[in-house]
């Protein structure tokens, strides 16, 4: 059994599966989940880097600070964070794991809330038959045209 034969068989199996609509939908779900996981991992990575560089504070802890508008957002953030930063110093490796976990928890919480809210709205609209297209008002310029 050559590699070429295996690849050909795999390709045939894949195209056969792709023809099926349900399989395609499942495939899309898998891709979407993969992208979301990638975003989550990236976000966790970013937050670790942020922790290591010593600028920890995010949006929830800081209020809009009025500075000159020629300054960048990053500069403003760093300046405001330097005063408030009480986290571990740069290079502390013992905080990496909890930060990763925390980021994963927060992102999954956001996703969870969004899924719950969208599913709830969808169910509500289906129950109330509100997803049907409502009749539009009579055209106000129709009589004038006649």
């Amino acid at each position: 059994m050559t590699l070429k034969y295996i690849l050909q068989e795999l390709y045939q199996w894949f195209t056969y599966r792709m023809e099926d609509k349900k399989a395609r939908r499942k495939f899309m779900v898998v891709i979407v989940m993969g992208v979301l996981v990638l975003i989550a991992v990236y976000a966790a990575n970013g937050s670790i880097t942020q922790k290591q560089s010593g600028s920890i504070h995010g949006p929830s802890t800081s209020q809009p600070v009025s500075t000159s508008n020629t300054q960048t957002a990053s500069n403003t953030q760093t300046t405001s964070n330097q005063d408030q930063d009480q986290g571990p110093g740069p290079g502390s490796t013992d905080t990496q794991q909890p930060t990763l976990l925390l980021s994963a928890i927060i992102i999954s919480s956001v996703m969870g809330v969004s899924i719950v809210s969208s599913t709830g709205m969808q169910l509500h609209y289906r129950k109330k038959h509100m997803d049907c297209i409502a009749a539009l008002p009579v055209l106000y310029s129709e009589e004038t045209m006649q």
Binding site: T61, T67, S118
Partner: protein
């Protein structure tokens, strides 16, 4: 311009602007500062734009604090922003806004998953309209809008700084993401910055024009409009159908099956028009 090309062009513009405004400092350097009339949150530490929203929220404080060159540059930036808005109207929303791109991504995902969109009932629309004006007032007078703004919680998370979100942030980000998933450009309808820029739509360089006599009222324009604008469908006498909510996505022109019925003009010159669909 070809109709398909305009959508691709718009998405490419959104992708580039989102990337630059969110991750710009990584490759442009931290000295780059852009003040654009879009929701590019100032709380994204790696962002290269602070967005004009922060300036408006803290305008009175900034004017009091700034002196000399800083005050001059602040006023200069603001005047440039106002000029930009007056020229382009809400083109910023459709082609530059990173949060708009986030919403477009959610809509694309919903369409791929074949989940139907929801339509806001006509009965509850007045309440939502009221909410829009309340949000605008809160925004202009700086009454706690920044604490409720979903962009402040979502954009830093996308940039990799989501580990410090509060419970309120998680709830707001989650609910807004859920709503934007089911309704295309849901936040744009209530965006206070967009509402402010919408006033300039009537005098901006871009206009959506309609030939009322050629319209067959197939509702194609209304069905595809992400902002639920009825004027394009209803109007028959006036040629200018540019609404204050219009973000110039051109989907109505793409969807219109009648040739030369809907068109987009720039400086009065027709650059895009509807064409007959051949199946």
């Amino acid at each position: 311009m070809n109709q398909r090309k305009i959508t691709a062009f718009r998405l490419v513009c959104l992708l580039i602007s989102t990337f630059v405004l969110t991750y710009g400092s990584y490759f442009l350097g931290s000295c780059v500062s852009l003040l654009l009339p879009v929701f590019a949150c100032a709380y994204v530490p790696t962002g290269s734009a602070s967005g004009v929203c922060k300036t408006i929220v803290t305008l009175s404080y900034s004017l009091m604090e700034s002196t000399g060159t800083a005050l001059f540059s602040l006023i200069g930036f603001l005047l440039l922003c106002i000029l930009g808005v007056m020229i382009f109207g809400r083109l910023w929303c459709g082609y530059i806004c990173p949060f708009g791109f986030y919403q477009e991504l959610l809509t694309m995902l919903r369409k791929k998953l074949r989940i139907p969109a929801i339509h806001v009932s006509e009965k509850v629309k007045p309440f939502f309209r009221l909410l829009k004006w309340i949000l605008l007032l809160c925004f202009v007078f700086g009454i706690g809008f920044c604490n409720l703004c979903p962009v402040k919680y979502i954009m830093p998370s996308l940039a990799g700084y989501g580990s410090d979100l509060s419970i309120l942030g998680i709830i707001i980000a989650g609910i807004v993401t859920g709503i934007c998933f089911l309704k295309e450009r849901a936040f744009c309808e209530y965006c206070p910055l967009g509402t402010l820029m919408g006033f300039a739509n009537k005098i901006s360089i871009g206009k959506i024009k309609k030939n009322g006599a050629a319209c067959t009222h197939c509702r194609a324009c209304l069905e595809c409009c992400p902002m639920d604008i009825h004027v394009i469908y209803e109007e028959r006498l006036q040629s200018n159908v540019t609404h204050t909510d219009c973000i110039y996505c051109m989907k109505c022109i793409e969807a219109c099956p009648e040739p030369d019925t809907l068109s987009f003009t720039l400086f009065g010159k027709k650059i895009l028009k509807s064409k007959r669909k051949i199946k």
